[in-house]
Assembly symmetry: C2
Homo-oligomer: 165 residues x 2
Amino acid sequence: MSDIKSAANLLFLREEELRQGIELLYYAYRDFTAEPDSMLARYGFGRAHHRVIYFVGRHPQMSVSDLLGILRITKQSLSRVLGQLVRQGFILQRPGSRDRRQRLLELTEKGVELERQLSENQRQRIAKAYREAGAQAVEGFRKVMLGVIGSEADRRRFERGPPTR
Amino acid sequence: MSDIKSAANLLFLREEELRQGIELLYYAYRDFTAEPDSMLARYGFGRAHHRVIYFVGRHPQMSVSDLLGILRITKQSLSRVLGQLVRQGFILQRPGSRDRRQRLLELTEKGVELERQLSENQRQRIAKAYREAGAQAVEGFRKVMLGVIGSEADRRRFERGPPTR
DNA sequence: AAAATAAGTCAACATGTCTGACATAAAATC
DNA sequence: GATTTTATGTCAGACATGTTGACTTATTTT
């Protein structure tokens, strides 16, 4: 094979490999969210509610700003979703003791239960994928995913140890 | 450490590991779609337009049914987005020669250009992540992602060889 | 000839996102 | 102590993306 042809071939393989990466992310995310979405629909909730419940469960006593920072949406968008969850008794708001302007968020018992139901599906899906792929593959998965994540601050969330605020 | 305590610890580690998996998917997908979304906004388009352009570019001459099968949305949802792309000259529809009920889809030159611009960002993000993580990690990433994908049919899209119709 | 399929259309509605403007309370700064 | 900044909330209007349901047309399959 000529140099030119093999260079072109390398480029093709690379292009193909990258497209596969794009599609792996697309299909995996689509399937990862499909079941929780259909559970949420039974409560009249959507994916946005799941994200709020998930992150509040993960970081109890987080402030509204912290949550906005993770979700990267506007406060007006969050407000509708969060308001519903508070009014329907899934999330509790308490003024911060250090800074009383803050509204610290935590799940109620009802909220914990819903969170558990919703995430159970996703945990099992991940557990199955991890089990089938093996520990070394999981390490590779982590590395690649961290490379895809844009901000250093977000990557730091995945260092060992308890979750950061 | 007592047996009970170490078993609990194992469970905790496992739970933590699975939660990290969930979050890796969340953050990676969020950052993966952020830039194309903001480019699309300049055309008055959204993520749905990107998905249509992407998959039509990937599988030229695909039918509307094929596209619906990949996207898993209703034809009414697709129709709005696809209609805009056709009217604005990004996608061309031609009746199938074997089955004249079909409308086979392909990108116009303008469509190819937009697709290239939109995907460039994502390709570079993946390329960076792959480069930093190394070939072995990429193999692990592939394995785990395939495990997350639900249907065998979709997993087959990732076998080696040219894309299937 | 009848039934099934591929595609499209019209209508109504829900959800999640946005921008922009404004309000309140508390903390931080001058 | 007065002023500015910050954290949060609210009202209004818009748009993108998805849904269900009903119906049409052309073509293929049975």
